[in-house]
């Protein structure tokens, strides 16, 4: 090979790197390992995590321990889906493109909006992308955001807003849901988007239609973040006046994976189709009139429009979206609704069961689907530690993000959480609260009101 190139060594090919910049020493990394050794090393690390197989988890807060059917793994692990690049050559990418098209159809059905893209990175950055879209659509630079929106979404929106030059105004909660009067007061003719989440971070179902009226009145876009697994039950955002419905896709066919990779879904009205971020597959025909699929509306995208693109994203999380599509097909129309009903009923049971425990009361009594919040009459961290000794992760300490809910716990239910496990949680929680009662809550003065600083567990 060197002779064909006309050099005497590989080193010669690297001579274009100026001498002083050549590393001239081996990288300070361990020597390579055999496959068996790498496996053992990583299995050793994995064993030091308390995963949802090792304990019963009631953690949610945006990602949920659903049962992912075996066919999802079987299909997503196929080389033909696992190893190609983005479908830039549609003639040999019909499989992936058609999956995108099917996925877009399913997400459009779920959200009740006519247009879906093929997926974004994940939930919170999708909220930030919706903000960017709304700025372009309205030529305004203010977002009014409910504090019921996932804290990570609000923080991501704030991070992006510093770049694209927008202002973020937060509206508080009352009775577990967005304070409607405060929201109406905050929205004005400068507002590009009103951003809500339903169910919100506390698990409460918002009256999106009623809250959205403020957006309509002032010509702002209504952006609704939602949990796709609740859309078999809840009125879809598209029927509540949403211009954009988006969210974290993990509950559909994706693992917990300590937070990623998953996908974000993003649906809109027809009016916004040319401002959409991300890949969109479209149906067309080939020269022989055969049905086919291509990447549509590429003139929105960075590889064509460069600095004038509607967004910089070029990832569709295609494999994760495939997992979602297979999971949705497996559930099917009836199964998807049945699963939603199962979640509602088990969650209602769990909420009632926990609220009956001495020292535990509901944080709010707004309707919920699959997650709810309770106040504990004992320090939350201490209670979590005690319950963990029973092999149960009791939930998410809301004080990590909301200083006003320092005594509260967010509890999530999936089809994997049985009645027996819920009963065991109630028992363990009751004992732990009884034991911790009367102990002073730790000083919460170090936390900012926005919950921007999270407690570091000692």
């Amino acid at each position: 090979m060197l002779a064909v190139i006309g050099v005497s060594s590989v080193d010669e090919l690297f001579e274009q790197i100026p001498g002083p910049l050549r590393l001239g020493r081996p990288l300070e990394l361990p020597a390579g390992m055999s496959e068996a050794e790498v496996y053992e090393r990583l299995a050793g690390l994995a064993a030091r995590n308390a995963d949802a197989e090792a304990e019963v988890t009631f953690l949610g807060a945006g990602m949920y321990d659903h049962y992912v059917p075996a066919i999802v793994d079987a299909i997503t692990s196929r080389s033909e889906f696992l190893t190609p690049y983005t479908p830039y050559q549609p003639e040999i990418s019909q499989g992936g493109l058609q999956v995108m098209f099917e996925f877009q159809t399913a997400m459009s059905e779920l959200t009740g909006l006519p247009v879906s893209n093929a997926g974004l990175y994940e939930g919170p950055s999708s909220v930030a992308s919706a903000g960017y879209l709304a700025m372009g659509a309205t030529k305004r630079r203010k977002f009014v955001v409910s504090r019921g929106v996932h804290p990570h979404s609000r923080e991501t929106l704030a991070t992006y807003s510093v770049g694209y030059g927008a202002e973020v105004v937060e509206v508080g909660l009352a009775g577990g849901v967005t304070d409607a009067a405060a929201l109406a007061a905050a929205v004005d003719g400068e507002t590009a988007a009103v951003i809500l989440q339903s169910p919100n971070f506390l698990g409460a179902v918002e009256d999106v239609e009623a809250l959205g009226a403020a957006a309509k009145e002032h010509g702002a876009l209504l952006v609704v973040a939602c949990d796709p697994m609740t859309l078999g039950i809840l009125k879809p955002p598209g029927e509540c006046g949403a211009d954009i419905a988006l969210g974290e896709g993990q509950p559909l066919g994706n693992r917990l994976d300590f937070g990623g990779p998953s996908f974000g879904f993003f649906c809109s009205t027809e009016a916004q189709i040319r401002r959409m971020p991300g890949r969109i597959a479209g149906e067309t025909e080939d020269v022989d009139g055969r049905r086919g699929f291509v990447l549509a509306l590429q003139t929105r995208e960075q590889h064509i429009r460069r600095e004038k693109a509607t967004n910089n994203i070029c990832t569709a999380q295609a494999l994760n979206a495939l997992g979602a599509m297979v999971h949705l097909a497996w559930l099917g129309r009836e199964g998807f609704r049945d699963l939603g009903e199962l979640l509602v009923r088990r969650t209602a049971y769990a909420r009632e069961r926990l609220a009956a425990v001495d020292g535990v009361e509901l944080l709010h009594d707004a309707p919920v689907v699959r997650e709810f919040a309770v106040r504990l009459d004992a320090p939350v961290d201490r209670v979590l530690d005690r319950v963990a000794e029973h092999g149960i992760a009791a939930g998410y300490a809301l004080g990590r993000e909301y200083s006003e809910y320092d005594d509260a716990l967010l509890v999530a239910i999936t089809e994997r959480r049985t009645r027996e496990q819920i009963d065991a949680l109630a028992e363990a929680l009751g004992a732990a609260v009884a034991e911790g009662r009367g102990e002073k809550l730790p000083d919460s003065g170090s936390k900012s009101p926005q919950g921007a600083t999270e407690r570091v567990v000692a």
């Binding site: 990418s93 019909q94 991501t156 917990l256 300590f258 999270e454």
Partner: protein, 500 residues
């Protein structure tokens, strides 16, 4: 490949069929309307396909056979680094300790995951020659946005407001798109005769008003596959103007263990774990785009940051998520990043080790230069000449201009004809600077035999076109569909299936 007429899963749907068997609720069957007010409920379940499991499996298996993939053949897509995806990585990522670990788990009970992230951070820092790494960005373009927000925060902290970001005309499309999203203005820098940054143009653009230069975004080797020999001088100019130097790491696969962006003077680097570090591309994601930064940028890194706290009193080290970062730009996404990708990339780094990573880059560069030489020795030498004739790094760019002029064959035609030969074509029409561009990146994965086969196919297509250019102009023939009407998909987009 599978050539039947396309049928969607919705078209296979029959009312009443289903795959899923759900557990019994095991709790009272309270009517849903008693638990959630009727005005918040959905009237009808969403229209999802109704299909039994065997049909779902058949459907998606059939669709899979309408895809070309890296495991089926040579995939020399320039700037995309289509290297082998070791299956060991899939196995370790699927271990329950990784796959079923909740992202909000108490850090004390996720020590293995945090240690893995910490070790990956340290490995990437060494490879980049920079002290600090954040794993948070979800992809390369997300890393770019992070880098620009870091630049803004860095300047704001010094009481400066700067408005312009320089980027060569050869840059990836994501660069200018990220610049706009970050609220900056793009200033294009010309390319010189050797394929590097035009130094005179760069100086002129800086001298217009150095106080406005926020950053220069550069890929090195650049998208022409060429190492910019003036990089030290470029870094000096940008740093003197007070700007930051951003490294688009899409082409890192050329230089691992040979040189490091940090040593070249870069302040911020993004790495595409789905390129250099073997995360499968998944047909368009997932990936991850960690950033490595210099000391002066470190205080602004996104939060949380994975940290190691040394143990006291005989206790070992403890890994933690540090949220207490007052100068941080904040979050770029939910939770801690694409952890599943981190597991695969760390497994890859462990497998190859220091020598293996260096050898991967050396082989990638050797393969690219060999394929370039093989092509130049044949008809491609005349019809598809190299755009900038010097040794390349891991990829090279040809110009189809003579081919188009002399044979009437556009680069697109050649690409489509390659499909019939069982190859994924190279990247086409990028970089924009090269007329009828064809960008070839073979990666270290390929054998000499597969490189030869590709060169032979190009030779055969060019020979064929000399006698009958129509063959290539109407290609492909053997694929599930032939050339598709992409214009229609933009003018009159049909982006979902109409139902009932």
């Amino acid at each position: 490949m599978q050539r039947e007429r396309a049928t969607t899963i919705y078209e296979k749907s029959k009312a009443g069929r289903r795959a899923a068997v759900l557990p019994d609720a095991g709790v009272p069957e309270t009517p849903i309307e008693d638990l959630i007010p009727a005005n918040l409920l959905r009237a009808e379940p969403p229209n999802l396909p109704e299909v039994a499991e065997p049909e779902i499996v058949r459907h998606y298996n059939r669709l899979s056979r309408r895809n070309f993939d890296l495991d089926s053949g040579f995939y020399p897509l320039g700037s995309c680094t289509m290297k082998h995806n070791p299956r060991l990585n899939e196995r370790v990522a699927a271990l329950p300790g990784h796959a079923r670990l909740h992202p909000a788990q108490d850090p004390r009970r996720a020590q293995g995951a945090l240690e893995l992230m910490y070790l990956l951070q340290a490995s990437l820092a060494e490879i980049c020659g920079l002290p600090s790494v954040s794993l948070q960005p979800s992809a390369g373009s997300h890393g770019e946005l992070a880098g620009l927000l870091l630049t803004r925060a860095y300047h704001a902290d010094r009481g400066e407001v700067r408005t312009k970001v320089l980027a060569p005309d050869t840059s990836h499309g994501t660069n200018p798109a990220s610049v706009t999203m970050a609220g900056y203005e793009v200033v294009k820098v010309a390319t010189n005769q050797r394929g590097g940054v035009d130094m005179d143009d760069l100086r002129a653009k800086i001298e217009e008003d150095p106080s406005q230069i926020a950053c220069l975004m550069l890929t090195n080797p650049n998208t022409l596959g060429l190492f910019d020999e003036n990089i030290e001088e470029i870094a000096g100019l940008i740093h003197s103007a007070g700007g930051t130097l951003y490294y688009d790491g899409a082409n890192l696969n050329a230089i691992m263990g040979r040189t490091r962006p940090g040593d070249m003077g870069f302040d911020i680097v993004h790495l595409n774990l789905h390129k250099s570090f073997s995360q499968p591309h998944g047909g368009g994601g997932p990936g991850a785009g960690p950033i490595a930064v210099s000391e002066r940028i470190e205080p602004f890194l996104p939060r949380p940051q994975v940290v190691r706290r040394e143990g006291a009193g005989g206790h070992g080290p403890r890994f933690d998520l540090d949220f207490d970062r007052p100068k941080s730009i904040g979050r770029l996404r939910g939770f801690q990043g694409n952890f599943g990708v981190f597991v695969r990339s760390y497994a890859y780094i462990l497998s190859l080790g220091a020598d293996g990573l260096t050898e991967a880059s050396e082989t990638a560069v050797l393969n690219a230069n060999y394929l370039k030489a093989r092509l130049a020795a044949g008809r491609a030498g005349e019809r598809l000449p190299i755009a900038f004739d010097r040794h390349c790094m891991h990829e090279f760019v040809l110009s189809g201009r003579p081919m188009k002029k002399e044979l009437g064959l556009a680069t697109l035609d050649l690409a489509k004809r390659l499909l019939d030969f069982g190859f994924h074509p190279p990247t086409v029409y990028f970089p924009l600077l090269v007329d009828e561009a064809l960008m070839v990146e073979p990666t270290e994965t390929e054998t000499k035999e597969s490189l030869d086969a590709f060169a032979d196919a190009v030779e055969e297509i060019l020979a064929e076109a000399e006698t009958d250019p129509e063959v290539a102009k109407n290609a492909p023939y053997s694929t599930p569909v032939r050339r598709l009407d992409e214009v229609r998909a933009t003018r009159k987009p049909v982006v979902r299936q109409p139902l009932g």
